[in-house]
Structure formats: C-alpha cells, structure tokens
Symmetry: C2
Subunit: 315 residues, 2 copies
C-alpha cells in the first residue's frame, strides 16, 4: 500500500470526505503531493493547522495545476462552478473524479465544461459520519466500505483502473454502476433515510404537549438513533434533494404508501398484519452485519464506546 500512485492529487473541498482522503493519502503514501483547495479561507487555515496537505489555496484553478488526480469533494450543487474554475488549468491526461452523492446531476454539471483531454470518472464513496468539516475526517473512513464509480460510456479503461486502484489503496471496495441506477439505489439506501430522519426530528421538535426536554431525556427509547443522520450537513443534504429530485420523490411516494397501509393496520387493530410487517425486517440487519457493513454488537456498540471511555455519560 505504500507505492505512490499519483505524483500530485488535488482535493477541491476539504470537509469530512476531502480531509479523510487527505489523511489516508498521506498515511498510505498514495501521492507525492497533496494540494488542498477550499473556498473558505477559514476552512483552509484549519486544514493547514491540521497539516492535511502540501499546499493550500482558495483557488481551485491553482490547486489542479499539474495534478494527475483531481478529486472534487464539494456539495453536489457546487459541481458546475468547480468544473468551470478548473477546466482551463487541468493537466491533459489527468483523472478528474468527485465524491458526490448524486451522479446524473454531477455529470450534467461537469461533463459539458471539462476539456476532452482529461478523464472524467464520476465516483461516490459510500462512507461518512454525521460530522462535517476538516476536523471530522479520519484515515480509516473508507476501510471496508464500497466506492461506486459511474463512468460514462467510452471512458479510457486504463484511467478507470487507476482510479479503482486509488480507492483500493484507500481501503475501499469498488463497484461500477450506471449513473441512473446509482441515483435510484442511493435514493433508497441513503437519501430517503436522511430525509425521514430530518423529518421525524423536526416533528418531535414542533410538539407542543411534549416538551423538548422530555424528548431529550427519553430519547434512548428510539428517537436518538434518528438524530445522528439529522445532524448531517444541511448544505450537502439540501443539494442532494435538489439534485436527485425524481428518484427521491419516487421513494417518498413508495414510503408514504407503505406507511398509510401500516397506519391503517394500526387503526383497525390488525395484529397479524402488524406482526408480519415487523417480523420480515429483522433478517436484513443480520445480512448487513454478515456483509461487514455494520458492527455485530447491540446498540451499534454504544456500550463499548462508553466502557472504553469514549463518549462518557455525563450522568
């Protein structure tokens, strides 16, 4: 894992994903040089303090100069602007990829702007936490997680192989997928869960007869699980909703249909139907644990985290 795969990697955006990439690239010596770009000079300064790269600039245009690999790590709504900023200084033969949660929109935004001399390969690492910003990243974020590449037909296979190798070096497994299918899959496994989590936390927040302190005190009975996803970066999630609209609306329609049916079973006291519904979802968690995509301890390992002295209970 210590062979240098790229002379220079430019990271455009240095939030959770960008800064995790910076850390793993450095730790596993994947690149000789890391250029960090952020629009915000405050974020950039923090990245500098954390020693995440070899050079720092608020100009994406500058960061990508001479880079062999450019990774765009910004909210998906900013993709077009980044593409415009970098297109003139991109090195011919460079690989340009991104980490955005929607793929059709990113392709529509970047593809027409990028020069034909570069290899544009859209990507999406399925990894993250609820935290954001350069402090939130860590080198192990991608270990054992999947990264989905959605190359456009006719893309140079050697470039795809190089990018695949990069993600392997970061600890990921790599899948290839059609961008449209990606957007549908992610709508159900990621976008719908986040939207539902934001919604339920909002509903609880608005309640007039149950106080906020009650919601907080008794949150260990279920509610707290949703607050993690609902603590995610609002800009990122606004952009996801705006840029994967059709697939998300489709998922919301299905979800609501199913919920109406469940609601009806509750109203009419249909215990058998409720039992059947509640009984068929258990095995999915087991499959996820068996696939190494969640921890095999009760309560996500919260008790372990507490015992080991992380996240001490304050009571």
């Amino acid at each position: 894992m210590s062979d240098i795969r790229f002379e220079k990697i430019a990271l455009i955006g240095i939030g959770l994903i960008g800064s995790s990439l910076a850390r793993v690239i450095r730790e596993r010596r994947i690149a000789g040089n890391i250029a960090v770009a952020s629009r915000s000079s405050e974020t950039l300064e923090r990245a500098h303090d954390l020693n995440l790269g070899d050079s720092y600039t608020t100009s994406a245009t500058e960061a990508v100069r001479d880079a062999d690999l450019v990774i765009v790590c910004v909210p998906v709504g900013a993709s077009a602007k980044v593409a415009r900023d970098i297109s003139d200084t991109l090195k011919p033969g460079a690989i340009v990829t991104d980490v955005g949660s929607t793929k059709q929109s990113v392709i529509e935004q970047m593809m027409p702007v990028l020069p034909e001399t570069v290899h544009f390969i859209p990507g999406h690492p399925i990894a993250g936490t609820e935290q954001s910003g350069p402090d939130a990243g860590f080198a192990e974020l991608f270990d054992g997680r999947w990264c989905i590449l959605t190359p456009i037909a006719g893309t140079d296979e050697t470039a795809i192989d190089r990018l695949t190798g990069f993600w392997h070096a970061c600890g990921s497994m790599v899948d290839r997928m059609d961008p449209e299918h990606h957007d549908m899959v992610l709508a159900i496994v990621s976008h719908l869960p986040h939207i539902i989590a934001y919604n339920i936390v909002g509903t609880a927040n608005d309640f007039e007869t149950v106080s906020k302190s009650e919601v907080i005190k008794y949150s260990a009975s279920g509610f707290r699980d949703f607050t993690r996803l609902a603590a995610s970066d609002p800009t990122m999630w606004r952009d996801v909703c705006l840029h994967n609209k059709d697939a998300i609306l489709e998922m919301l329609a299905r979800f609501s249909e199913d919920l109406s049916s469940l609601q009806r079973a509750i109203r009419w006291g249909d215990g058998d139907k409720l039992f059947d519904l509640f009984n068929r979802t258990r095995h999915i968690r087991k499959s996820i644990i068996d696939a190494g995509q969640d921890v095999d301890v009760p309560d996500f390992g919260r008790h372990v985290a507490q015992t080991e002295g992380h996240g001490e209970d304050t009571l």
Copy 2:
C-alpha cells in the same frame, strides 16, 4: 448498593428487560431471592442455564407467592392474563409493577383484576437494545437511563418510594408522570421511530429495481441505522401499536403532514426551505449527548467497537 431491599422479587417474563433486571438484582444484591417465571419452558431452561434466578417456573401464579416485589416483564398485550394468573397468590402488601411501553392500557388491563391488598405501580424503564430473549440482557442496561413511574392517584407514597429506590439501585434515574402523558411522550420518542424504521426497511425490501444485495452493500450510507430498530421484537411492537393506538395515530398524522410539506419543497426545488428544515435539527443531537443519553463519538462509536475487536468487520 448492596443493601437487600426486597426479600423476594418475582420476574414474570425473562426477556431482554427481565433478564437484565435479574442480572442487576443479583450483581448489586438488591434482593435475597429471585423467582423467574416464563410461559415458555424453553426460555425458562435458558434462564436456568444462565443462572438468572433462584427458582424457575412456567407458572406466574407460583412465582409471585411470598414475593415483596413483582415485576411484570411481558409484551403489553399479555398484561391482563398475567394479572389474572397472579391475583390470587399475591402477598398482601406486595408491590406489583411492570415495564411495559404503554401505560394506560396496562392499567386498564391489570388494575381491575389485582387485589386491593397490593400496591400496583405501573412503570417503564426507558432502556433497551434491538435484541431480545434471556441471553440479550446485561446488568448495566439501566445505568444512566430514566425509568418512568405512572402511579395511580391515591397510591401509597411509601410503596412508590420503595420502588423508586429499587430503580435507583438498578442504576436508573426516576421520573413520575401521568399515564396519559407517558403514552403521548413515548409515542413520539419511541413508538413513532420504531414504526418509521420498520416501514422504511420494509419499503427497501420490496423494491424491484434495486436488489436486496445492493441495499445491504451500500447500507452504510444511512439505511443501516434504521435496521437496528427494525430488528426489535415483533411481538412487543405489535402489542405497542395495538395498545397505544390513539397517540400513535396522532403522531403518524403529524409526521405525514410534515413529510408532505418536505416533499413539496423537494418537488418545487425550494432550497431555502430545505436548508432551514435540515439546519434546525442538528442541535437536538447535541442536547441529547449533553444530557448523557447518547455517546459523544461519531457514528454511535461504531469505529470504537470495531477497533476494540467487537463486531469485527468480516471484509
């Protein structure tokens, strides 16, 4: 914590909660004698193998004989039957409590059947994991969690104090609440989250164009969080839905209203509204962590659990 508070405690039902109580009672020497009752002889045998009590019986009637404290730990739908089974052998002056997730229904089921010679004090420890059965329990389950008592007007205050002391000895903090208010609070903090989790996992399960293996592989992007609650005991949750119907239907109506509004913002591309919605939920997680009701580490401490060798990734 080692003063014996009760000569004999009878646990009716020995699942996650019952067996956690058995463990903490023994470990902290809260009772001289623990009688374990379970309808299922298989469960009872397992409880015996785990050495959870001092006596074991499939007859609740027998278990409660001479007990000073009787704790009913069964799905709420079985409360009436348990009350009928135990009413004739309850020792005068005994405290009878329960751990059910709904309180008005439990009171309606048990109150008319129990003799006036005992102190019936409904209770609900706000603690649990997604696992069930006698193997799933652990002595620390109640540490730092709240237990809500919903005593009926006129209940002997000394008995309430003794039961409060019992829960303190188990590691809990204790609140008192009106049963109706309890059912409303729990509908929003616990019942709605579980129903929504079951529903979203069901929706994903039914999808025809996204395969189950895709849902599992990419679940780390959000979906997996919901699978924990959706792996909870189906019998318990069927009963909760049937026995807290009105409050749950009210919460579902509010949730659906809010979701329709969010859906509309997505359809019309109202980025400002989406940002506002997604921005106001973040602080709730912080409050929950500050209140000691969740761990202060990203991703619920999954990375800690993995690093410490629990829940090893299989990949």
